[in-house]
């Protein structure tokens, strides 16, 4: 029941073209392909069939045969099975499955924390973790991203080719997934941005239940959602994961993994484990999320901003580690030939001195207190109003990593008191 993979020569021969032509179809995005570890293109038969039909070319019968069988069996097998049990010992096989079509990223231990890195070896993966230093935001919106390649002499400019192999993120916590859904909103709003969606739309997300600490506060901001944005969600139920299948793309990667249907006991365990995720998040926010926009507005002149501003070092860490911060700077770099070069965007921070400066040197957010207030308003008021939920996902990273010990939770709690006393 495997999908047959075709090489570029199979397709070239069938279509009566050179393999270079087939490669150009792949590069231009007309024909979807994955690549082997050795860098050779492989095309799933069903993708090739779709392509041939789209361009009105005949489809070889043996390609169809393979594929339809596979489809039927999958459908029969899984139509009534959206909750499966996967033994933890089989997780490495899941990683191997994923690696056939995706670059696979997952949490691995790093110092006192964890980090999302590309998995060369499934043994590095540690799905039972509290948080990562940077959120998986970096996979949808890289810290540095090339926007253009240019030549200053010929005045030629073009956008770089998207990676042929999409990314699968394994072990994403609900708060971080909610962060990515908020980024989707921002990059779709107004004019949707192809740089973001060309990468994002091909990604696969596999969530895991979490292991919260005292800085986490997902339930206070309503981001403890296990079924939004994910293709699969793995809930830790002891010796196994309960795998919830949320998309067809997710179902695909489970083939041949030795899963079994979940029974009543497994489902009960899942519910309990998910409940623990939310209740063990230790951060206490007094004001309810729905009151925060008004609180942020009414608290604009509160004295606490001066205090926070006086402690803030304007280092920008809170922005860099935030799953919903997306502001960027754009810079050009010339190559050594001084003719060709590239234009890239970089994560930026509204806490830095020059962020809101204009050419004449005027700055519209000179005081650190105003920049801290701006960040708070961005999380709970400005965009939150448009999106209908806070732009803070309660991951706690800015609290854990602030060297000045500024806590967005404390700020929210203090602001409520300050506004009550105004």
């Amino acid at each position: 029941m495997t999908d047959r993979l075709l090489g570029t020569t199979d397709i070239a021969r069938h279509c009566g073209v050179t393999t270079e032509t087939v490669v150009s179809w792949i590069k231009s995005g007309k024909l979807n392909a994955c690549s082997t570890p050795g860098g050779r293109y492989r095309i799933a038969a069903r993708n090739c069939i779709e392509f041939l039909k789209e361009y009105g070319m005949p489809v070889p019968e043996d390609w169809i045969g393979d594929d339809e069988d596979a489809d039927q069996q999958t459908d029969e097998e899984s139509s009534h099975m959206n909750q499966l049990v996967l033994p933890k010992t089989n997780v490495p096989r899941l990683v191997d499955n994923l690696r056939k079509s995706y670059r696979v990223f997952g949490p691995v231990p790093r110092g006192n924390s964890s980090a999302f890195v590309e998995l060369d070896d499934a043994a590095e993966l540690q799905l039972d973790y509290t948080t990562t230093i940077l959120p998986p935001k970096k996979l949808v919106l890289p810290a540095q991203e090339e926007l253009l390649e240019f030549n200053t002499q010929t005045w030629q400019a073009r956008e770089p080719e998207p990676d042929t192999k999409p990314v699968a993120a394994l072990g994403v916590h609900p708060c971080d997934m909610q962060g990515i859904l908020r980024l989707d909103f921002v990059f779709r709003k107004g004019q949707a941005e192809s740089n973001y969606f060309d990468r994002r739309d091909r990604m696969l997300f596999i969530g895991t239940s979490c292991n919260p600490d005292e800085s986490c506060f997902c339930s206070a901001v309503g981001t403890n959602k296990f079924d939004e944005g994910f293709d699969l969600f793995l809930t830790d139920i002891g010796q196994s994961y309960l795998v919830s299948i949320l998309t067809d793309r997710g179902r695909e990667v489970l083939k041949g993994l030795g899963t079994k249907a979940a029974d009543e006991i497994d489902l009960n365990e899942m519910a309990k484990a998910r409940e623990r995720c939310s209740t063990h998040a230790g951060g206490q926010m007094q004001p309810s999320a729905s009151t925060l926009p008004l609180l942020a507005k009414d608290g604009e002149d509160a004295a606490l901003w001066e205090d926070i501003g006086s402690r803030c070092l304007a280092c920008g860490t809170c922005n860099l580690v935030c799953p919903t911060c997306y502001c960027f700077d754009v810079r050009d770099e010339l190559n050594l030939d001084l003719k060709s070069g590239k234009r890239s965007r970089f994560w930026d921070s509204c806490q830095l001195d020059e962020f809101a400066e204009v050419a004449g040197g005027e700055s519209f957010r000179k005081e650190r207190s105003n920049r801290q207030k701006h960040r708070f308003n961005r999380k709970f008021r400005y965009l939150a109003g448009e999106y209908g939920a806070p732009f803070c996902v309660g991951c706690g990273r800015c609290i854990r990593q602030c060297v000045a010990k500024i806590s967005i939770l404390e700020t929210a709690n203090d602001l409520e008191k300050a506004v009550a006393n105004l």
Binding site: Y102, T152, S194, E252, A356, V358, N377
Partner: protein
């Protein structure tokens, strides 16, 4: 395992500039040059007065620059650029015939429909005349559609006066009341001396039928807005255009945010009544 590609149907290439050729360059002050540009694909820029473009110089980056010409003058468009940073200094070194990149036009521009039939009081301070000029010339080119036109223009010193030829034409135009001032004169200056609000004090305005269109540095807004209020101008009869660091122009990068709004999307032109309570506006 097939990899689906479900590209967002509305997705757009936002950051690719269009090449444009510098048709003409004129040094207009010691620090400002006026560039006349034509898009290489032959199309008109298609802008509204008050909109801006992102100018691209490969190797230097991009900068938001107001379009200074009126869309009524077809074929080419003009950008008046002060040599302030690395990109604008590099641009000043470019000869006629050189290529630069253009994205846009971006922003909302002035609402030329709303102003129809109204008297207009233009108040420009320093380099603020650059975006204002696109609307002034638009109004003068559609003279019949607009009422009484008054232009007040102030600079710090006579050396910074922009568009001297045009100022002369406005001065001689019987349908325009043009007045200007400098903060500090020099030995050759015989005109009015004083900040721009001193021109406003001498003026007989009809606040009920007049819209004031104000563009200048932040400090100028503070005093001009006070002065207009003392002359009984309603807040919603005051239009301003704000400068911000509009890095991307398409509402993504976050640099131009002013409280809840992105100046590159909702501005740079605002009705004062809408933004007067924004702490970050001026």
């Amino acid at each position: 395992m097939p990899v689906e590609k479900t590209a967002c149907s509305c997705s757009e290439k936002l950051y690719l500039p269009r090449p444009a050729t510098i048709v003409k360059v004129r040094q207009v002050t010691p620090t400002e040059k006026l560039f006349e540009l034509r898009l290489d694909d032959g199309s008109d820029l298609g802008h509204q007065p008050g909109q801006f473009v992102e100018v691209s110089l490969f190797g230097y980056g991009e900068a938001p620059i107001s379009v200074s010409s009126s869309p009524t003058r077809k074929g080419t468009f003009e950008l008046c650029v002060r040599a302030a940073g690395s990109l604008t200094n590099a641009m000043h070194k470019l000869p006629e015939g050189a290529t630069i990149g253009i994205r846009g036009p971006y922003g909302n521009g002035f609402d030329t429909e709303q102003l129809k039939g109204k008297d207009i009081l233009f108040i420009g301070g320093g380099i603020g005349l650059v975006p204002l000029r696109s609307l002034i010339n638009y109004v003068l080119d559609n003279r019949g559609d607009y009422g009484k036109t008054t232009i007040l223009y102030g600079t710090k010193s006579p050396a910074e006066i922009l568009f001297t030829d045009e100022l002369k034409a406005w001065e001689e135009d019987p349908t325009v009341d043009f007045r200007m001032t400098v903060d500090r004169g020099d030995e050759n200056w015989t005109g009015h001396i004083g900040v721009i609000t001193t021109l406003l004090e001498d003026l007989e305005t009809g606040p009920a039928t007049t819209y004031a269109v104000v563009v200048g540095p932040p400090i100028m807004y503070k005093f001009v807005l006070l002065s207009l209020r003392s002359q009984d101008f309603r807040d919603d009869h005051v239009i301003v255009s704000l400068e911000r660091r509009m890095k991307c122009g398409v509402g993504k990068c976050g640099h131009c945010q002013m409280n809840s709004i992105y100046v590159c999307q909702d501005g740079p032109v605002f009705n004062y009544a809408r933004i007067k309570d924004f702490p970050e506006a001026f």
